[in-house]
């Protein structure tokens, strides 16, 4: 069964159609890429999937239920987590607090036991701390847990964003250009990491990426978006040789 099924999705910004008639289908456990030239509407698709924008038309079905029109936090509760193209960490908070906040929806005590410092509070906090610490350890950030997120080097900020997204316990993870600004070595490490977390956390992943070596290297299927429309989809090899894709990326053949 498809975990995510998007049908006829469109989004217009006062007349400008940013995304039109997009169909996507992602099965459980897949690792799918979404590529396309700059301004093709990839991030808009992510924003539609996560509820930041409401679709003008179309339906988004996740785990068999329609989720379009839901508030972003509700979509997060249903099990979709994301990272952002332009990193959006909680910069003035410590690294571990960033992860703890994402655990909030699974917190086991209520406001009153927090204020009254009941035993429940201490148990809950201890649990959150352990979970957040273990997650940071996976991403090799545990030694920096008390540093402010904004003081981390760029590559570690990207990793922290992924760690934070995983803390919400998603079944579908959306990665928006996770390798942006990384050098080839860091990209290679990131690819290994994505493969590993997918197995470890039993995840389905949809990722936007500009770095072709990353997309071609790890995605099983690829959708290509241009001017808001899906112009091709298939395996990496099919995409590589698809004339429409080559045209979109390199321009029309001369002559």
């Amino acid at each position: 069964m498809a975990l995510l099924k998007v049908e006829n999705l469109s989004k217009s910004f006062s007349g400008l159609k940013a995304v039109s008639n997009v169909d996507l289908e992602i099965k459980e456990g897949e690792l799918v890429g979404l590529i396309g030239p700059n301004g093709a509407g990839k991030t808009t698709v992510f924003n539609l999937l996560t509820g930041v924008y409401e679709p003008t038309e179309g339906t988004i079905i996740f785990k068999g239920q329609k989720i379009n029109g839901l508030a972003p936090y509700k979509i997060s509760h249903r099990g979709i987590a994301r990272t952002f193209q332009n990193i959006r960490l909680f910069g003035d908070l410590s690294v571990i607090d960033n992860v703890k906040i994402a655990y909030h929806q699974h917190v086991s005590y209520n406001i009153l036991s927090g204020i009254l410092r009941l035993p429940k509070f201490f148990r809950g906090e201890e649990e959150i701390y352990q979970k957040a610490y273990n997650l940071l350890k996976i991403f090799d950030l545990h030694e920096k847990k008390d540093e402010l997120a904004k003081n981390l080097p760029y590559g570690q900020q990207r990793r922290l964003e992924i760690a934070r997204a995983l803390a919400t316990k998603p079944s579908l993870l959306l990665l928006d250009e996770p390798a942006a600004g990384m050098n080839p070595q860091e990209t290679q490490n990131l690819m290994d990491l994505i493969r590993w977390i997918r197995k470890e956390f039993d995840l389905t992943i949809l990722l936007i990426e500009h770095d072709m070596s990353l997309v071609m290297g790890i995605c099983e299927r690829i959708y290509v978006l241009d001017y808001g429309m899906i112009i091709a989809h298939g395996t990496p090899d099919e995409i590589k040789s698809n004339p429409r894709v080559i045209e979109a990326y390199l321009g029309e053949e001369a002559g």
Partner: protein, 324 residues
């Protein structure tokens, strides 16, 4: 991390015990000086006002410094607490404690009712909307003759140093505990990045309203203490200038720092008291003081840092779990 599991009574540690000891010492010294007559009325008034302003500043900080919502209507909630508690005490012959609770709850209710529509606004728009609503509250009481209207309202004096001090401690502890819990972190994440907070599953509207209601509740409590201490309240006391005064204390101490708000409130109260004899210079000197602070410490005296006694619990380094 492992040492936390072994601590069966996490509230009983060196830091909390010393903090309690310090609080009792401050309370006791003032109480002693007051009893043997050394402390003049004027000093006592200043100390009690400082307690009231600490509650106001810390609760404003919860809304503005921690949740990041620039709301400037705190005097309005203070007025609701003051008038509602006075109504219970004077018109219904209720006990002062019932009055304080009723006043605080009515202020919290007003906070929820005002918060749900206005917290959709951002930045300056929220500031303008809350400023206006604070004034509406004042004008409402100005025209409500049942509670004295423009001529003011007399309330028997039942608050004293003991009440003011311990209610201040209670307010600060509650707000501090709230902030240092998962729900408080949810509020702080809104300040840090609202879009990311939503994407991480935080119901940002809910937590904004909770922070607003909690802040309003303590402003109402402060208003109740004020009304039952001052003999006399009038709507003019709760004008937007009062809201600004509270905001100035928070900015002076540092947005996002509870101890900063306490320091800011004490400094402003003391400066106001010292300059009571030269009212024409008061605002000038306060303005100059603010400008100096903003030049040398643009984030306030403490920034977002807290002054704390964590060094007394060295084994818990890096793990913030304490209460006052």
């Amino acid at each position: 991390m492992s040492n936390m599991e072994k601590n069966k009574f996490p509230l009983i540690n060196r830091k909390n015990v010393i903090m309690l000891f310090l609080l009792v010492a401050v309370y006791g010294i003032v109480q002693f000086l007051q009893a043997n007559g050394t402390l003049s009325r004027f000093y006592l008034l200043t100390l009690i006002l400082a307690c009231i302003y600490i509650i106001l500043a810390v609760s404003q900080n919860l809304i503005t410094g921690f949740t990041g919502q620039l709301a400037i209507g705190h005097a309005g909630f203070m007025a609701i607490g003051a008038y509602m508690s006075a109504m219970v005490v004077v018109k219904m012959n209720g006990h002062v404690v019932a009055g304080l609770i009723f006043g605080a709850l009515m202020a919290a209710l007003a906070g929820i009712l005002i918060g749900i529509p206005t917290l959709r606004l951002r930045g300056d728009y929220l500031a303008i909307a809350t400023l206006g609503l604070g004034e509406i509250v004042r004008i409402f009481f100005l025209n409500w003759d049942y509670l004295g209207g423009a001529t003011g309202f007399q309330v028997p004096k039942s608050m004293n140093w003991t009440w003011a001090f311990w209610l201040m401690v209670l307010s600060v502890v509650v707000i501090k505990n709230f902030i240092n819990s998962s729900h408080g972190r949810a509020c702080i994440s809104i300040r840090e990045n609202e879009i990311a907070a939503e994407a991480m599953g935080i119901n940002t509207t809910k937590y904004k309203v909770i922070a607003f209601a909690l802040g309003a509740m303590f402003a109402g409590l402060a208003g109740g203490i004020y009304a039952n201490f001052m003999f006399f309240i009038q709507p003019g006391t709760f004008s937007f200038l009062k809201s600004f005064e509270i905001l100035v204390m928070v900015v002076l101490g540092g947005l996002g720092s509870i101890t900063g708000s306490i320091i800011g409130a004490v400094i402003m109260t003391v400066v106001s008291a010292v300059l009571a004899d030269v009212p024409e210079l008061r605002m000038v000197i306060i303005a100059v003081l603010l400008i100096i602070i903003m030049i040398f410490r643009p984030n306030g005296i403490l920034g977002t840092k807290e002054f704390n006694l964590n060094f007394l619990n060295p084994q818990k380094k890096g793990e913030e779990n304490g209460t006052t």
